[in-house]
Amino acid sequence: MNLKTSIIDYINDVKSGSFTVEEFTSATIQRIKDVDDDVHAYLSLNESAIDDAKIIDKKITAGEKVGACYGFPISIKDNICITGTKTTCASKILENFVAPYTATVVNKLQNEDVVITGKTNLDEFAMGLTTEFSAYGPTKNPWNLKYVPGGSSGGSAASVAANECLASLGSDTGGSVRNPASFCSLVGLKPTYGLISRYGLISYANSIEQIGPMTKTVKDCGFLLNIIAGQDNNDDTTIDNKQSDYLKNIEGGIEGKRIGIIKEMTADGLSPEVSTATKDAIQDFEKLGGICEEVSLPTIPYTVAAYYTITSTEAGSNLARYDNIRYGYDLDSEGYEYNSYISKSRTRFGPEVTRRIILGGFVPSAGHAGKYFLKALKVKSKLISEVNNAFEKFDFLISPTAPVQPFQFGEKIDDPITLMLLDYNTVTANLTGKPAISVPYRVVNGLPIGMQIMGNSLKEESLLQAAYALESKTELPEVPL
């Protein structure tokens, strides 16, 4: 069974009878058994995956209406709620939390007959860039097990890259879908803020985060987007996407499109390999008919500081509810006084989450908000104007997704500033709410490099066209695992 297939090819194969859903699911589960001890992409598995597959096969044989997904296997990041499943956010503080309801995006997929393989690993509460901050152990990069898969959706990325499923849903607050997509040679999209419902996504920084599909091909990404995008009554921040079809014109190409090369994201700070790849990608865009020109966004150097100020403030608030009183993990409150019980429970947060919470108490506090939080909000406003201006002149803005290739475990984790700066190219899309996609571009020395394309708000259709066009120019090796 060829597990290296795409969603669209898989569906065609099932429709044509080349294999059954159960056969493919079984093979996938076997693959998970074979490799996940090494990769550690999954935190929990769906025990009834085969049963779910059988039901879909029955529908197919009976000639009943089958959902668009035809039972393809998908993994879900473990900060997204599914009824009856443990949803831990890779934290010890939610060790025993079983979600009593299902996220809208998962509902939509289940209504279209998807098969969920399991919940994937992440940096604790989605705070991190390497998945090293998971309380349940890191995920390894299937391209080289000594290297990080990126983060925070590292488990999602690894599960797809290692062919343990055909796609995954991750979440992107500052690059957490695009960064691991780049590190694992996948397509990863952060949609326009409000395009995809966050109902059921456990909040980290609710003003800028989005759930994003992670797939092997650009068309697969469009396919998923068609199912999960759109206004949701359960999330008042969602917008009406007017029933867009993201696949219809995906082969439209980029002839005559104006492409801005973001100066501040393509200058120093790039590794030589990434720099070369970027120059080549620009040439590819031009060969495809795009008109490339450098554009400067002078606010960019301030975005990482603004991003961490804003997200730590929101995280400090969003994570306040974890006091272990209504749900969490087992700790009897007998004998404890209120404050000491909560503080003891919250020692279960990992080191990075702990630090962000402290930061998040500091930067918006009465004495310091003016210097940090309020300034960060203004940087956000300024950035939005700047980027909107750029989109008057350009159709897309490009840069490499990450300034470096994947690195080894432990390499960056000790210096907080170096770690923060990995987000340098990705936070702009989150702060402005614009959609951005990472396209796998090249593998050098066995380590992947991705290119990022940013589009204007709600322009995912043309963004996918650009991504598809670039993808057509790439020739990528297969993952060695």
Binding site: Y336, S343, I357
Partner: protein
Amino acid sequence: MVDEEEIIRVAKLMKIDLEDHVEHVSRVKKMLEYFDILDQIDLSSEEITSQEKTLSELRKDEFLPNDKKLIEVLKNFREHYVRAPKMN
């Protein structure tokens, strides 16, 4: 310069116990010092904006009873209550 005492006080407000982890303080301090970069940019003319909705787009006032006994799947005490630790 960020005061470490201040960081410790904030940690307490956020119900974070730093007893065995004072190294967090210096790391938080480093991050805060990086944020000083925000002082260097001109923000005088910037305004805060947000997504907007009109009144008529909001949820209609309707009581929808919950059939699921939510309290049963949360931590509960004597089936109905949530127990909090002793309040002073």
